[in-house]
């Protein structure tokens, strides 16, 4: 498997005196979390298939600082930001794609003021462009007619008004896109944002991810599609808590497309 993946680093490109078309910002979850690593690989397979000249920072990448900032630690956030910006500016990075809406939001919105100006895309936007440009194609198959509901990540949807790209991709799979009652602007959080991922919830009568998973399961989907590694974890846990892991899968949009291609 692994030999199929071609993952050059920015340093590799630099050594050859070249610039990649885009920097793939993998993010902490995408690098270390077992579930999220699968999403990372699925996305890389698609990039390879579409012959995108991309690079990663590899060991030169560091946390964007998002969880620190949302927890209130502005110092740590800005230290992380300035360090990352220094690295990326040294490589003269222009365009970034990431599969994590938190990295997407932070780099796109909060880095410019600190000296990091890049064009930043969420991987669903990037994949959509690849399809539109004809660099990648989807042959229906596997997901044709499947009931798929999309859970909007807060930091992609409400935070940045990206609602259509992931939905367009699901429709390209010829799947049946079904919307939850609370979707798009009104989407309910999975419970992970604002650094909640890293702590237990405060006392209450329910976990947020269970509430959201119930809303998704109400739609009787075969697949719950996600566009964020943290949402993915939360929804997967939610499906497990409802003991539905045998008939409902939680998958990232990149995985759906990679699977459709049998990659």
């Amino acid at each position: 498997m692994s030999e199929l993946l071609n993952v050059p680093t920015m340093a590799d490109f630099m050594a050859q005196g070249k610039q990649p078309e885009v920097l793939f910002w993998v993010g902490c979850a995408g690098s270390f979390d077992d579930r999220a690593k699968k999403i990372t690989k699925a996305f890389v397979k698609l990039l390879n298939k579409a012959k995108v000249d991309f690079a990663v920072l590899g060991t030169e990448e560091s946390c964007t600082g998002d969880p620190a900032k949302r927890a209130g630690n502005e110092f740590l956030f800005q230290m992380q930001a300035v360090t990352n910006i220094e690295v990326m500016n040294a490589y003269e990075v222009k365009k970034i794609v990431t599969a994590c809406p938190h990295c997407f939001n932070t780099i796109k919105n909060e880095y410019p003021e600190l000296g990091g100006n890049y064009e930043v895309m969420h991987h669903t936007q990037f994949l959509k462009d690849l399809l539109d440009e004809g660099r990648l194609s989807i042959e229906g198959g596997q997901f044709k007619g499947k009931r798929i509901t999309f859970h909007d990540p807060c930091y992609l949807g409400r935070a940045n008004n990206v609602y259509e790209a992931p939905r367009d991709l699901i429709q390209k799979l010829e799947a049946e896109l079904i919307e939850m009652k609370n979707c798009k602007k009104n989407g309910l959080c999975c419970g992970a944002g604002g650094a909640q991922m890293f702590k237990d919830a405060e006392k209450g009568d329910k976990e947020v991810n269970v509430e959201r998973t119930e809303q998704a399961l109400d739609m009787k989907p075969e697949i719950i599609a996600a566009g964020c590694p943290f949402c993915n974890t939360m929804m997967t846990d939610g499906v497990k808590a409802k003991e539905r892991e045998d008939d409902v899968k939680v998958m990232d949009i990149a995985e759906l497309i990679a699977n459709a291609q049998d990659l």
């Binding site: 990448e61 560091s62 927890a71 800005q78 509430e211």
Partner: protein, 433 residues
């Protein structure tokens, strides 16, 4: 002696508007207690937002039932106020229905007012039923007891009384009824008074007229103490609301300076601090004066509708956090600080209290997922999340008082550049797994 009513009227008007002006001044002073914030950009877009959201009620109608009812009351309120203009002129000059000289258009106007008055009356009754009989959940959260609950009902009673007085005033105006123009509703009320003598009917008409205008003046002055202040502040609040993507949180400038200095190899760490070095700012907010003026304006604008709280994932799952309460607490504390300043000849004397802990607990602050659902839901563009974030900043940067798990997460980021204890050198291992 003939001028007595005119004089009394002028006096009432003077007191009513004067007291209101005094409170507006206080309001401005209190909002001015907040930190500076420069919002002078993008004026055209801001005007557009104000026209769309405040004037056009675009976010209200997202909940169709409440939205429609609210639009009725809102339009009714504004339009019927044209009538108040006539009342004021009549009152000052001692005339009677001075606008009636404009002919048939007058009938059309008053007819419209009468129909609106009935619609408003009905809408207000439905509002009251939703609040008190159906008991919609968002009106019964724990922060909606005592004053906030009564305030909401008082406003509804006020409007019912004002609308009734307006219709009675028209119904008992014998001269107006005889015009047979514009009395579309009041002609059906007039017969109720037909068994009274003409003198009595006239007395009722005068009483209704006076009570109506006095009621309006009292209502005007009630605003400052009530959530109903939103009818005025919704306009500046939607004008000044952030135009940035909701996910973008501000970068603290004071921190940027320090970080740049730490990262700059040319800075001599042992150099004596520059002469003009500012006193280090307080990071984040523990009290209302640490918030910026827009956040304080937000607090006064909040209409306590609870749309934010009903969309909040933390609140929906039984956590203590309620974004509405964050706004109400901020206003209550700001009022307390304002009164303190008034009582101490213009300076704030430490009262041993603050917004943090005395009003907003840490448990509430840490329950927020920063999902922006509250910001999206607010019909008047209030941002409760920004206050939550500033208070977290205080807890973390001034008090090192984050929950242990978050401290671990932050230590990991500091040491290995990831929120988990993995080595940065292993960041690309996935590619070979």
């Amino acid at each position: 002696m003939d001028y007595l009513p005119n004089i009394l009227f002028a006096l009432a008007l003077f007191i009513g508007i004067g007291y209101f002006a005094k409170n507006v001044k206080k309001l401005r002073r209190n909002i001015g207690l907040g930190q500076d914030l420069d919002i002078s950009d993008n004026k055209p877009e801001r005007w557009k937002n104000m026209a769309r959201i405040a004037l056009g009620q675009s976010k209200m109608v997202r909940r169709p039932v409440a939205g429609l009812l609210h639009v009725i009351v809102y339009v009714g309120f504004i339009v019927i106020n044209i009538e108040v203009l006539e009342i004021i002129i009549d009152g000052l000059l001692g005339t009677h229905r001075i606008f009636s000289s404009i002919g048939s258009l007058y009938g059309v106007l008053i007819g419209t007012f009468e129909i609106l008055a009935v619609l408003v009356f009905v809408a207000v009754i439905v509002f009251w039923i939703r609040r008190n009989i159906i008991k919609l959940k968002r009106f019964w959260n724990s922060e909606m007891t005592s004053w906030p609950k009564n305030d909401a009902n008082y406003i509804l009673y006020f409007e019912m009384v004002l609308m009734t007085l307006f219709l009675v005033m028209n119904a008992t105006d014998i001269h107006f009824q005889e015009m047979h123009s514009g009395n579309v509703i009041s002609q059906f009320i007039a017969p109720w008074f037909s068994h009274f003598s003409e003198g009595t009917v006239h007395l009722i008409e005068r009483s209704a007229w006076w009570l109506h205008i006095l009621g309006i003046l009292i209502f005007l002055n009630y605003l400052y103490f009530s959530k109903h202040l939103h009818i005025l502040l919704a306009f500046p609040n939607t004008f000044y609301a952030s135009l940035k993507p909701k996910g973008e949180f501000n970068n603290l400038e004071a921190v940027t300076k320090e970080v740049k200095m730490m990262m700059d190899p040319n800075v001599d760490p042992f150099a004596a601090p520059a002469e003009n070095a500012e006193v280090p700012a307080k990071f984040g907010a523990s009290d209302v004066q640490d918030l910026n003026w827009l956040q304080l304006l937000n607090a006064y604008t909040c209409t306590e509708c609870g749309r934010c709280t009903s969309e909040c994932p933390a609140n929906q799952t039984g956590k203590k956090l309620s974004p509405r309460k964050i706004m109400m607490d901020t206003r209550d504390r700001l009022e307390e600080v304002g009164k303190n300043i008034d009582a101490n000849k213009g300076t704030f004397v430490d009262d041993g209290k603050q917004l943090l802990d005395d009003y907003i607990t840490r448990e509430e602050l840490w329950a927020c997922t920063s999902c922006n659902a509250c910001v999206e839901a607010c019909p008047v563009s209030i941002n409760p999340l920004s206050i939550i974030l500033d208070m977290r900043r205080y807890l973390v940067m001034e008090q090192s008082a984050a929950p242990t798990e978050l401290n671990n997460m932050m230590t990991n980021i500091e040491n290995n550049g990831a929120p988990w204890p993995y080595n940065q050198m292993d960041r690309l291992n996935w590619k070979n797994e």
